[in-house]
Amino acid sequence: MILGLSGFHWALLGAAAAALGGGIGSSIGITYIANVAAGILVEDPEKFGGLLPLCAIPGTQGIYGFITAVLVVFFFGLIGGEGGKLTSPQGFQIFLACMPVCFACLVSAIYQGLTAVGAAGMVAKRMEEAGKALILPALVETYAALSLIISILLLLSIRAGL
């Protein structure tokens, strides 16, 4: 037993942490940009089309966290009851595999929200550049996507070792 938790508990903790990190990050990130977007829309409701994608962009990290959590549930049978067979070290491995998504998504979503705020200023001044404005916050997303990939690969390799 690691820290007195069974494998099942560790796996649950991992899934929860992934969903939590992504969810918290995304909600903070979206709050930043949506506040600014609302301010711009007061002046200029026509820019809705340009601002909505910007507001949605920090939302992907929440989805990545969610996906990781679902994969843990799905791969290790946390719903069906097979999860009870996991040994404590195996569960701990699952927990560790969830960490990249948990932290990278938490942080990158917040900063992506801040980048989007800058980009929203661009949209406010020059609507015709809305396309470019969308690309800049997307650069931040790279690291969230990479963390998702590494988490998935780790989960796959743990499943292969069961």
């Binding site: 409701p45 026509e46 809705f48 089309g49 909505l52 994608p53 949605a56 962009i57 939302g59 992907t60 989805i63 990545y64 969610f66 996906i67 679902v70 994969l71 799905f74 396309g131 470019k132 969308l134 690309i135 997307a138 650069l139 997303e141 790279t142 996507a145 990479l146 998702l148 990939i149 998935i152 690969l153 796959l156």
Partner: protein, 739 residues
């Protein structure tokens, strides 16, 4: 499929033809007019110029009036359609002839006056209503007072007044009055946590004493001079008045709504006037003299005959000359692509147009964007919905050409994701196991269970994409006769990349697999040699080591010719040092690779060379070249980052499938509820899948686009072209139909 060739045109025209010519140019919309006035103002011809000041005041005033009426009317429009109409602006269709007659058709001044009148009436009523409301607010605390308000004031012997003191003071006030002024009557009318309102009656002769006490407790007298009856009756009267006013307001709003049918016509008028203004403004760009004027502009080379014919139709007197763009001139840019690539021009425009002599990247990015979009969305059902929805919208909505192209682009994306979805067995993210067998046979990889393969595939696509970018850069360099850049930059990259990838594969293979296959043992040493040579190539070619050598040799020749012994010797020393240094570096690397002999000798040689090299200027330049080569080698490591960036394709593809999978699972769980279950399931499936489609559509658009802009374009493409904007009729609210 490239940037359209342009011709530069000069028109010299007599002033009498000014209006006809401007109208024709405006209608034809072929000429991109440049500011010739400014160009000439900087030359010796400047004294010939005459100022031309178009009279815009009247037009501006009229335009602002039209804008006012339009804004005024839109405020009273009942919103419909909601969400989607906010994203896409619909336009009005108008025939060309009725567009030109719009000024005669509507009596704008009458409309304007009516609107202004209605606006004033409305403002008046609103003002009155708010006054009434404020009065009512003031009266409310006195509701329980049954005294007529006109009875307040003084009688022969007494004073009757109402007023308020802060609530905490009220008790003290009451006590003090009772104690000091017995002949007074204080009645509390209402009280809240802040103020206490009361009625006070006292004898006139005691007023000094009473006022003194009142003042001490912060008394504020209150009066309603215009009102007579009791507060309750007055409030009733106000409420009646308010209802009347509201009715009047509704009547006016109805009148305004009755005017709404004019809106399309007003849009037409607005665009017509704006075009008129543009026609007046453009003339400031002409070089006007006393009797004539001259226009400079650009025309698409292909459409020049058409242009010339039209001009000749106006008058034979117009002088038309044209030339090819001269070196260094930047003509405005028109992109021309095959119809199948047209929608992808949206992406090129979004980044920025190419320069006149550059390639148009549209056909190169199109297939990759198509494929990447498909991988990111990656579902047959979603692709089908997207393609159909976009196709339907592009047919149904009256939107501009650019928006239409965007719809086509997304429709292409839908088709792509149908293809990819078919190959990965994703139909509304339904479990692969429950698919009919003929669909199962189509499946190439299962993205969840073969995630590693999917990842490798994404990165492999990235390698292809990036290498294609470098190849385009090479072609660009050859085309523009920059052979040196091609040899020094692209050739080493192309030789180095396969070498390093092969070596990485071998290295990983040896580390990971417990029993390496025999081919690995054969390949590994070869890959290591390849890597070594690749590194040397990159360092010495990309650092321009040999280029520096050549320029040193040239110095030797010049020195000998000019009989400057010092210069020749310096150059010669540089060349000798270059060769020495090159040999020692190569020797070191080769001994390291072969494992024979000691590399220490070469290391000592290198150290010695660096020490000696630092002493003189010409040999220092050799070392600088070498250092810059090392930096290039470091720069090439950026390729690895670029390749890994394509892993996002896999992440986004998985995201679609997994979210859809969860939605399906939720639906299945709901089915367990009796009766209601099936309805709930249908609702959750529809809402959930639409959510999944929308959220992943965003990712599937932004990320492949980023891969084009950041990873692909940086090798061969730079923007900076100016858009071709011919002088023509531009409409904001209309789509014109020519007969």
């Amino acid at each position: 499929m490239a940037v359209v060739k342009m011709k530069k045109v000069y028109l010299v025209v007599h002033s009498s033809l000014r209006q006809v010519l401007v109208d024709t140019l405006n209608e034809q919309g072929l000429l991109h007019i440049m500011n010739l006035r400014e160009e000439i103002a900087e030359t010796d011809w400047e004294p010939l110029l005459v100022d031309y000041q178009p009279d815009l005041g009247h037009l501006e005033l009229l335009l602002s009036k039209v804008q006012f009426v339009l804004d005024f009317l839109s405020d009273f429009e009942e919103r419909k359609g909601g969400f989607l109409s906010g994203l896409i602006k619909e336009k009005v269709k108008v025939a060309w002839t009725s567009f030109n007659e719009v000024e005669d058709k509507i009596e704008f001044n009458d409309i304007y006056e009516e609107c202004e009148n209605l606006d004033n009436q409305l403002a008046h009523i609103r003002n009155e209503i708010s006054q009434f409301k404020a009065l009512k607010e003031d009266l409310l605390p006195w509701l329980s007072l049954t005294l007529n308000l006109s009875d307040l004031g003084e009688t022969v012997q007494t004073v009757v007044l109402i007023g308020q003191v802060p609530t905490p003071e009220f008790q003290d006030l009451q006590g003090e009055l009772e104690e000091n002024v017995v002949e007074s009557d204080l009645t509390l009318v209402s009280q809240d946590f802040k103020d206490s309102n009361f009625l006070l009656i006292f004898l006139k002769r005691q007023s000094d004493q009473v006022y003194g006490i009142l003042q001490k407790h912060g008394f504020r007298p209150i009066s309603f001079p215009a009102l007579e009856k009791t507060p309750g009756e007055e409030i009733e009267r106000i409420e009646e008045g308010c209802t009347d006013l509201e009715q009047g307001k509704e009547a006016i709003i109805k009148k305004i709504r009755d005017l709404l049918y004019l809106k399309p016509d007003l849009w037409v008028l607005h665009d017509f006037l704006e075009n008129k203004r543009r026609k007046a403004e453009i003339q400031a760009n002409f070089a006007n003299t006393r009797e004539a004027f001259m226009i400079e502009g650009w025309v698409e080379a292909e459409r020049l005959p058409e242009f010339q014919e039209k001009i000749n139709q106006i008058s034979e007197e117009i002088e038309v000359t044209f030339t090819d763009p001269i070196e260094g001139e930047q003509p405005p840019i028109v992109l021309k692509n095959k119809p199948i690539f047209k929608p992808f021009e949206v992406l090129t425009r979004l980044y920025g147009l190419p320069n006149y002599n550059e390639v148009d990247p549209t056909p190169y990015l199109a297939p990759f964007f198509f494929l990447f979009f498909g991988i990111c969305l990656g579902d047959v059902g979603y692709g089908l919905i997207l393609a159909l929805a976009c196709w339907w919208m592009s047919k149904k909505l009256e939107v501009s050409e650019n928006v239409k192209r965007f719809f086509y682009l997304l429709a292409y994306g839908g088709i792509a994701s149908m293809i990819v979805g078919g190959l990965t067995g994703s139909y509304f993210c339904i479990d692969v196991a429950s698919l009919p067998s003929f669909l199962k046979r189509l499946i190439l990889i299962d993205p969840i269970n073969d995630a590693q393969v999917f990842l490798m595939l994404s990165i492999a696509l990235g390698i292809i994409h990036v290498c294609f970018g470098v190849a385009l850069q090479a072609v660009n360099n050859i085309k523009n006769q920059r052979i040196k850049d091609f040899v020094c930059d692209q050739i080493p990259t192309f030789l180095f990349l396969p070498a390093v990838l092969l070596w990485l594969a071998c290295w990983l293979g040896e580390k990971i697999s417990k029993t390496p296959p025999p081919t690995l043992g054969y390949l590994y040493p070869k890959a290591t040699w390849g890597l070594g040579f690749g590194i040397l190539l990159v360092i010495f070619l990309q650092g321009r080591y040999f280029g520096n050598c050549c320029s040193l040799w040239r110095e030797v020749c010049q020195g000998i010719k000019g009989e400057k012994l010092g210069k020749a010797l310096r150059g010669f020393w540089g060349v000798v040092f270059s060769i020495f240094f090159l040999v020692s570096i190569c020797g070191w690397v080769l001994t390291l690779l072969s494992g024979h002999g000691s590399s220490n000798i070469f290391l000592k040689l290198i150290g010695f060379a660096i020490l000696v090299g630092l002493l003189s200027k010409s040999s220092r330049s050799v070392l600088v070249r070498f250092a810059s080569g090392l930096y290039s080698l470091y720069g090439i490591s950026g390729f690895i980052g670029d390749f890994l960036s394509y892993a996002r394709l896999m992440a986004l593809g998985l995201a679609t499938i997994l979210i859809g999978w969860v939605i399906n699972m939720l639906g299945r769980m709901l089915l367990g509820i009796p009766f209601l279950g099936i309805i709930l399931m249908v609702v959750i499936l529809i809402v959930g899948h639409i959510f999944n489609l929308v959220i992943n559509l965003l990712g599937a658009f932004v990320h492949p686009l980023r891969l084009q802009y950041v990873e692909f374009f940086k090798y061969f493409y730079s923007d900076g072209g100016r858009k071709f904007e011919p002088f023509r009729l531009q409409t904001r609210h209309l789509i014109l139909k020519y007969d």
